[in-house]
Symmetry: C5
Subunit: 91 residues, 5 copies
């Protein structure tokens, strides 16, 4: 799972109908030591807010989170991180 | 989901028969702050046009959008973005 | 789906038996503006030839093309491109 | 499967309920010769500890490890490496 | 499918029980013209040996090779390459 930060919202009127009601957020990778941090869109399941550090799942796993296999979603926020305890420093 | 821009169309006469009738578009990644923006092909489901900023799903999720699991498609446009509201600037 | 070019053939005598009879081709990414173009192997379904510009699907979608879910294939050629019409130049 | 090292723990109170009880660890890629080593989160299945060199599976395979297909997990530790015997040096 | 070379073995006593009996090998990408060649672990199905150039499948396809969908494997060797015949030089 990716370590990310929530940085914004996405508004889309014209969309696949199964996206109705989903909270779509703009997410940025937030790994310790990473320079190029990708920005993408994820569906929220845990009421995350701007600035939260979160865990994001990708691919078919993101669909499974919503309890139906036909969701047009391939990234989902599944946890808000309280603390990253790194015992051995990332090189 | 990826933030992309629609930049063109693809024409292909000789193709897998399940691709018949699908609108295939040339897409480019359009993430804030990204330098190397990949170009690829996606099937459209929301009547997107050239220049639209869109949300694209990948992998098995792209097939699910079409309501049958055997579609030879691994990228699909699922929404046209009205607005990206970024509350915390992408670094 | 990836925009690629067919650049060669692969010969393999010792292989998973479900690969028997498949035409395996050497493929190179062919995106407009891309510098590092990856080379890989894809199974052909549309009688593509050396030099053709093609559309390639990846992952589980490549298996689905063959109508059985247990094919040991994760890249498949699904169309030969006649024309890429790019209305808005790739940056 | 990726060769990684366990470098820390993740604490998250607010999370998808199916993550309850899982041990989530901070992982870093540990391939011989690799310079940019990504950091991510994986669910542990083999009682790995900080500093262990481990094998990690990704995507839908990570869910299958837990014996139920709806786990919100896309990376899982499946083995602790005793020894990597490299007969031909990685270039 | 990826073009790779077999460069070593992995030994792991403590592992997911479904990995018992599988031959796990250290693999390196071996694409013509590629500079950064990733190293990873794959399960062998064709009795490959050190130094062999092989075809590797990834993701859910790697599981399917083993005829059961719950294998904790996401890379598998499915063919030993006799010859790569490249008709149009990789750029």
């Amino acid at each position: 799972m990716k370590i990310c930060k929530v940085i914004g919202h996405v508004w889309a009127t014209k969309k696949e109908e199964r996206l109705e009601g989903l909270k779509l957020m703009v997410i940025q990778e937030d790994e310790p030591g990473k320079s190029k941090k990708e920005v993408f869109v994820a569906a929220d399941t845990v009421c995350a807010g701007i600035g939260d550090q979160v865990i994001v799942v990708s691919g078919s796993t993101a669909r499974k989170v919503f309890g139906r296999d036909d969701m047009p979603v391939d990234e989902a926020i599944v946890a808000i991180i309280d603390n990253l305890e790194i015992g051995q420093e990332a090189e």
